[in-house]
């Protein structure tokens, strides 16, 4: 048994016989062409180019059918490479100028560009040269009248081993009966890896010499998660991986079976289980999860990487689409939590070079300085409310006056829209993010001005513990289980419930199955989870007893450090 470590490019386990795709070392020799036959040589090259174009058309049709429009753009890029002056001008120039055969001229031209790629420092961009090789290989094959072995010829399930797989090879994998693949070359970000992930084929790349160490017919195990290839595994290793494979399938199926079931504890306490949404493009997968709502729709994406601010129309369209797809389930739209740097990118006067942007002009603070931007977003959200169950949430609130100011602005926006004859509801729920300790401590003063609260755990932890999470010197102090954090959250839940207002929690704590029991014990009404972890958290909630967790929380908040809390949880098997 030999284990080789590479880079896990696409997760999953494959167990089977190897099929080694021998590297097609196309040998190109330099031949001098007599002057009177040079024109004909160029014509031969043009014919190969045409044939390659036809190949790409076929490949495009296949990709469109299998993977959709976005992946088909890769083939279009290959078509443009084929049309690039590098190929259309440089190769004929070399044939005519040096009096050589087309194959040699082409390989020289490709090598010249390859050397430029070699010089790039960025590994990701250096890897892009494989797109060029892909096109170059197709061209050479046509020039040499070389028929490439098609992966479609493989007629039994097997694990494919190769020196390198070009994106065009990967596309053919789904139709063939390949369980997974392993290659000597390639990185996690290569097109081949990305395609393998979309096709859900386990893959390990960057194994350096696997194609020489494995022979066709050898038994191999591919571990796409760990990035391992095991050659001629022992019976125990096979049994272990078969078990893991079966468990993976089973766990996946068990989680799948939770779809549509309510998030209710063993003692019948029901929780609203929602997801965080970063961009509307994730809606398809969110809908498939059958969530109870969107607990946090982050709207920052609308403001990123652009030179103008998003218009009311653009925003309305985006919010409406999400509201409509979720209706009648709630969608909590958070107004943009952006910092001053975003404004300057959009050509608006904003603060530059803040020494401490996390404590600077961001979120509601920034928008209250730029009322036009704020009102545009509020109007867009208001217009979207008619399509579903929309609520508004304000980020970075630290003072009651801020909420009052937002209320006034919101009333103004409603009045304006009504005067313009636009359909808007009279009442839309307004909530605040509790992520700054002052809002948590003084919550009773905020509550008369808002309809609900949502605890943003990431920032609440950061500000309570004064820990910058990206500062490696202090990250170890970032601790969701810190008793001070738990006390604060519990205080928020108690005070809000006393006033009859509901409490949501968003942030990473909701996606941590170890922290969820505490949130359940505190009696938070809704948890907004990252979609990836949604079903796993639901599984956790459904296996808890809320009453037992409430007792656990009562003990936890009296602890003096997080280690004590973790110990308490371990004792309960959590």
């Amino acid at each position: 048994m030999i284990i080789i470590k590479g880079v896990g490019a696409s997760p999953g386990i494959a167990i089977g016989k190897a099929y080694v795709l021998e590297d097609e070392e196309i040998v190109v020799t330099r031949t001098e062409i007599p002057r009177d036959r040079l024109r004909a040589e160029v014509a031969r090259f043009r014919a190969a180019q045409k044939a390659t174009h036809r190949d790409l058309d076929n490949a495009e049709a296949k990709v469109l059918k299998l993977l959709g429009k976005n992946h088909a753009k890769l083939i279009d890029a290959h078509r443009l490479i084929l049309r690039d002056t590098l190929i259309t001008k440089d190769v004929p120039q070399r044939i005519l100028g040096e009096g050589v055969n087309a194959e040699f001229a082409l390989s020289e031209a490709l090598e010249a560009v390859n050397q430029q790629f070699e010089k790039l420092e960025d590994e990701f961009f250096r890897e892009r040269r494989h797109d060029l090789f892909d096109v170059g290989k197709r061209l050479l094959a046509h020039l040499l009248k070389h028929t490439r072995r098609s992966l479609g010829d493989i007629d039994h399930p097997c694990v494919l081993i190769a020196r390198n797989l070009l994106p065009s090879d990967t596309i053919n994998l789904k139709e063939s009966r390949i369980l997974g693949f392993a290659t000597d070359l390639g990185g996690k970000t290569s097109h081949t890896a990305i395609l393998a992930q979309s096709l859900e084929i386990p893959a390990v790349v960057g194994l350096s010499d696997v194609s020489r160490r494995v022979k066709s017919g050898d038994m191999v195990i591919l571990d796409g998660e760990q990035g391992l290839v095991i050659i001629s595994p022992t019976a125990e290793a096979v049994a272990k991986y078969e078990k893991a494979q079966a468990q993976e399938v089973k766990a996946e199926r068990e989680l799948e079976s939770l779809k549509g079931l309510p998030a209710v504890t063993l003692d019948d306490k029901r929780f609203q289980l929602e997801v965080n949404l970063d961009t509307p493009e994730e809606m398809k997968s969110v809908l498939a999860l059958q969530v109870d709502g969107i607990g946090l729709f982050r709207t920052e994406y609308l403001y990123l990487n652009r030179t103008t601010s998003p218009t009311e129309e653009e925003q309305t369209k985006a919010y409406m689409a999400v509201a409509k797809a979720m209706a009648p389930r709630p969608v909590v739209i958070r107004t943009a939590d952006i910092g001053g740097d975003r404004l300057t990118q959009m050509g608006i006067e904003g603060p530059k070079n803040e020494t401490n942007p996390f404590m600077g002009l961001r979120g509601v603070r920034l928008f209250l300085r730029h009322l036009d931007l704020f009102k545009t977003q509020l109007r867009a959200i208001l217009r979207a409310t008619v399509k579903g169950n929309v609520k508004i949430m304000i980020p970075m609130v630290s003072a009651v006056a801020e909420v009052q100011a937002v209320r006034r602005l919101l009333a103004q926006a409603v009045a304006e829209l009504q005067a313009e004859g636009v359909e808007t509801p009279k009442n839309v729920e307004l909530g605040i993010m509790v992520e700054i300790p002052s809002a948590a401590v003084l919550l009773d003063a905020f509550l008369p001005h808002c309809d609900f609260v949502s605890v943003g755990t990431n920032d609440l932890i950061q500000y309570t513990l004064a820990v910058d999470r990206v500062n490696e010197n202090v990250t170890h102090l970032y601790d969701p289980f810190h008793p001070a954090v738990l006390r604060l959250i519990q205080h928020v839940v108690t005070v809000a419930h006393r006033a009859g207002k509901w409490v949501g929690v968003c942030g990473e704590m909701t996606s941590d199955p170890h922290a969820v029991p505490l949130l359940v014990g505190m009696g938070c009404d809704s948890l907004s989870i990252s979609p990836r972890m949604f079903l796993r958290v639901k599984e956790t909630v459904r296996n808890l007893r809320a009453a037992v967790m409430a007792k656990l929380v009562a003990k936890a908040v009296t602890c003096s450090d997080s280690e004590e809390i973790r110990r308490l949880m371990r004792e309960q098997g959590l």
């Binding site: 753009k73 279009d76 890029a77 790039l120 990701f124 961009f125 990487n305 652009r306």
Partner: protein, 88 residues
Amino acid sequence: MIKKTLIMTPKLGLHAKPAGMFVRESCRFQSEIMLCKDGTEVNGKSVMQLMLLAAECGAKVILCITGPDEVEALAAIEQLFVRKFDEE
């Protein structure tokens, strides 16, 4: 000639797909279209040259367009950046 500074929006930078889209858009116009990053200037109608620019997400690039339809060309290419190159 018109110039405009833009921020690279595709998540993985200007790799094959977005570079291809850039070329498709550029080739619709007569004007000469150059893209510049950190002092390196390449032809916006060549997909290989654009990929060699190694423009990562968030990189500042300068678009220089010269020709009779430069205004239209700028608007069209700027749209690509705003649309984030139609990434999923």
